[in-house]
Amino acid sequence: MFSKVLIANRGEIAVRIIRACRELGIRTVAVFSQADADAMHVQLADESVCIGPPPPAQSYLQVPRIISAAEITGAEAIHPGYGFLAENPQFAEVCENCGIHFIGPPASSIQMMGDKAAARRLAARSGVPILPGTEHPVRELQEARRAAREIGYPVIIKASAGGGGKGMRVVINPEALESALATAAAEAAAAFGDAGVYLERFLSDPRHVEFQILIDAHGQGIHLGERDCSIQRRHQKLVEEAPSPALTDSLRQAMGQAALSVARAAGYRNAGTVEFLLDERGDFFFMEMNTRIQVEHPVTEMVTGIDLVKAQFRIAAGEPLPIAQEEVRLAGHSLECRINAEDPDRFLPSPGKVTNFRPPGGPGVRVDSHAYVGYIVPPYYDSLLAKLIVHGRDRDEAIARMQRALDEMLIQGVQTTIPFHQKVLRHPDFLAGKTSTRFLERLAQEQ
């Protein structure tokens, strides 16, 4: 096991990583910007090194300073956390070249999965379903008709050269295809100077379901079940749960194996997450792979009993996986609410000084946070202030526990999204397990 590790991150994840290191007997080095000199991760680490002024580009993204900090402190490994340099293949490569262990997958896997189109092709080659679509723009009507029939209606027509909703048309049935193609192409030509359009299966209201995988250095891989992260605002996850209310055991098995296939095809090692979209018919489609530990990893930890960050260190140190797939058990139900320092109605950031911080407690409640009374939330970084995680013997108990914990939680001095979560956790659709990626859109329309 490593004797000293540098944590190339900040905030709650840096605290999380330091906690795992403590339990493994690993000495810790924190790096910090001048805005984070009093941050919790700096206080908890054994050593700390200032790496620059507040802006991330001048501090937490400064590869030479971070490597240098590892060298002067004698750190043998760097854990990149999530965000910042966690999925930067050049950083992983620099670590490898400097003889520093990068706690994560090989640089080549990061590179491969970072190219989203290449990742889709890899998934397809591995026999994993991807959202059906045309590989190249369609040139004329017959080709389009054929493609749409193969893909399956409803299809969406998208401009090859653009985005922002221009040159997009949803086609529910074959009769509407011809005119939709014509108008989409005309719009695309007008907006982007290129009339090229391609077709893709349209999912009207999918769920976002992702699978946690672990692969060790000896080629053994397991999946630890799924997380349902459908509650998102502008593609930012806000509430996550494990297991997903929509999955049956057989679907879980199929998706879990698909996740492992994609990861193996990418030469993956260590912890990773494979994201799928799940439609109302129970068809799942590979979207992308995240080659890092994720924000919402705690819900998987709560239902499996496996410490994922410790697993990352163990895998990086060459240890074999602690259990086989048959021994993985998902027990009970877990929910996580991301508490951000934001206005709960308009989600605008709310930096400032935390004047009161009273986290909830009691059975089945976990709080992952770097906040403390007197902590000044800086304006330079993301607004995640705390993750409130609960576990219960089933979904109903987990919900009751989360409602109780949210009501108990007190943060003053900055605005937080606690009131928003309280609303979500009382919404009839949420209680019924009817969550999908348009849940928040519908919630907003109800106000």
Partner: protein, 153 residues
């Protein structure tokens, strides 16, 4: 108050760790507030707790804050622009670039910071005299750490 005077005021504030300064002169008032650099972790925090032999030495000032401020009044700090190891000379055994009392020009190389096996020459930004050397040869330094105090000419 012209730009030159404002700059001098800013240097004065920096050199004394003053956060806010208000000056009234000839009916015009200027208030300058610096965003304070929160208490940096002193070099001692980079030492492992066990008393193993290391090349890192703490340079905690023995002066009280007031006395320290008086001592550094008017002096311009040279802060490390990178993370690495501080060296006073171009090579082991060679003469140090500068000693306390030496006169320097803008652009004079005053030390080396080694980072990732590269030797980076650090140049003075002002003309003046080396008043204090705050880091020791071979000491690991962090971003923003004070290395020298220069009395501007």
């Amino acid at each position: 108050m012209d730009l030159k005077e404002l700059k001098a005021l800013l240097r004065l504030m920096e050199g004394n760790d003053v956060e806010e300064l208000e000056v009234e002169e000839g009916g015009r008032r200027v208030r300058i507030r610096r965003r304070p650099v929160p208490g940096r972790v002193p070099p001692a925090a980079m030492n492992p707790a066990p008393p193993a032999a290391t090349s890192v030495a703490a340079t905690a000032s023995p002066l009280s804050p007031m006395a320290a401020a008086a001592e550094t009044a008017g002096l311009i700090p040279v802060e490390s622009p990178m993370v690495g190891t501080f060296y006073r000379a171009p090579a082991p055994g060679a003469e140090p670039y500068v000693k306390e009392g030496d006169l320097i020009q803008k652009g004079t190389v005053i030390c080396i910071i080694e980072a990732m096996k590269l030797m980076n020459e650090i140049e003075a930004e002002v003309k003046g005299r080396i008043a204090r050397i705050l880091a020791e040869n071979g000491q690991p330094v962090e971003f923003g750490q004070r290395l020298f105090l220069i009395e501007p000419a």
